[in-house]
Symmetry: C2
Subunit: 211 residues, 2 copies
């Protein structure tokens, strides 16, 4: 998913991308200066411009870097091994909740942060954010298709819309966590998402059973 198509990205490039995740999530895209990212990465502006044409180029690559990181984290999470698709969906939300217990800039979403402010002024950033949010939703959509066939085959909603809805709730939970300066409200919001999924798939037990 990275714009650098070589199989082994240069270590400085990766350092800059990792640094940009921290700085942009803490300050937003527009307030982030290339100097801030270089300082966070411990690299020079010369090194930066060796790898990126400018800040927008960095942001597009950072969106793909963030998407690839999320894919690694979620595909390796224990809930992915659960045999039942409803358990995997509920497990996904629970796993999301389990990784919220840290400072706000560390659990919030680079993609939602950047697209919120840059959607109209930077079409390339909007497109990169959409691509990575949608790719993450498509992973969930597979489980939703399976779960819907077994438990909700007559439902009047589409798997695509429900997959996107999980992401809308998560993005909104991050906005409220930022407004309230705490992850606690985000945990509560994901409890409601859990409850909705249980209601849709006829699960009355409060938590997925272990495998």
């Amino acid at each position: 998913m990275m714009t650098d198509t070589s199989s082994e990205p240069h270590p400085s490039r990766t350092k800059i991308l990792d640094a940009s995740l921290q700085v942009i999530r803490a300050r937003g895209y527009s307030a982030t200066r290339i100097e801030d990212v270089c300082a966070e990465a411990g690299l020079t502006k010369g090194s930066f411009f060796h790898h990126f044409r400018g800040k927008e180029d960095l942001a597009v690559a950072a969106a793909d870097h963030f998407g690839a990181m999320a894919e690694r984290i979620f595909s390796a999470a224990p809930y992915r091994q659960l045999p039942d698709p409803v358990d995997r969906l509920l497990g996904y939300v629970e796993f999301r909740q389990s990784i919220l217990d840290r400072p706000v800039p560390e659990f919030t979403c680079l993609l939602g942060t950047m697209v919120q402010e840059a959607y109209d002024t930077h079409p390339a950033i909007r497109e990169a954010c959409d691509r990575n949010i949608s790719a993450h939703a498509q992973e969930l959509q597979r489980d939703i298709v399976e779960a819907r066939e077994v438990h909700a085959s007559e439902a009047d909603w589409t798997p695509e819309s429900l997959a996107l809805y999980t992401q809308a709730v998560i993005q909104g939970a991050f906005v409220l966590a930022k407004a309230k300066g705490s992850h606690h409200v985000a945990v509560q919001m994901l409890d409601h998402l859990q409850r909705y999924l249980r209601l849709l798939f006829g699960r009355s037990d409060p938590r997925p059973t272990p495998p």
Copy 2:
């Protein structure tokens, strides 16, 4: 709710606040320059600095201006007259959907946009956004308290958390609308919120009945 406590705010002040709503929702807080707001308002920087100490001062006043505008719009909406609290909640979501059919910068939320990027760097803006999001949620909370007593008195969720959840879904729907450059996904997301509320309050009919 405005920081100007006089009963009749100066017309230039209101012009600047209205202009800031448009510019910040289109570009984000950090990318907005005072010059942009003055140009949109058709006023000089001298006029601006007569009313505001600077951009952060404007943003805090704009959050309260936006909150007051929302209060006027929602308190005058027809669904507020419905006698049943569940009908009012479902009517709120439907009304939200009905005002999405316009360009993205015109239906998205100033508060969610600003807090997304400024939450950590501008505590006064974070506080103003939280205050106005929470005030809007508290209006819904009254209906939720009533509806819960009648239809869900044994529920394991609090009215406060459900009121905030409606706002999380709306904020997340705006993030997705920005990512996809269309209000259609936001309409779909609010359909899911409608369905959740109907499930919680035992409403199987797809829409609230007219009074």
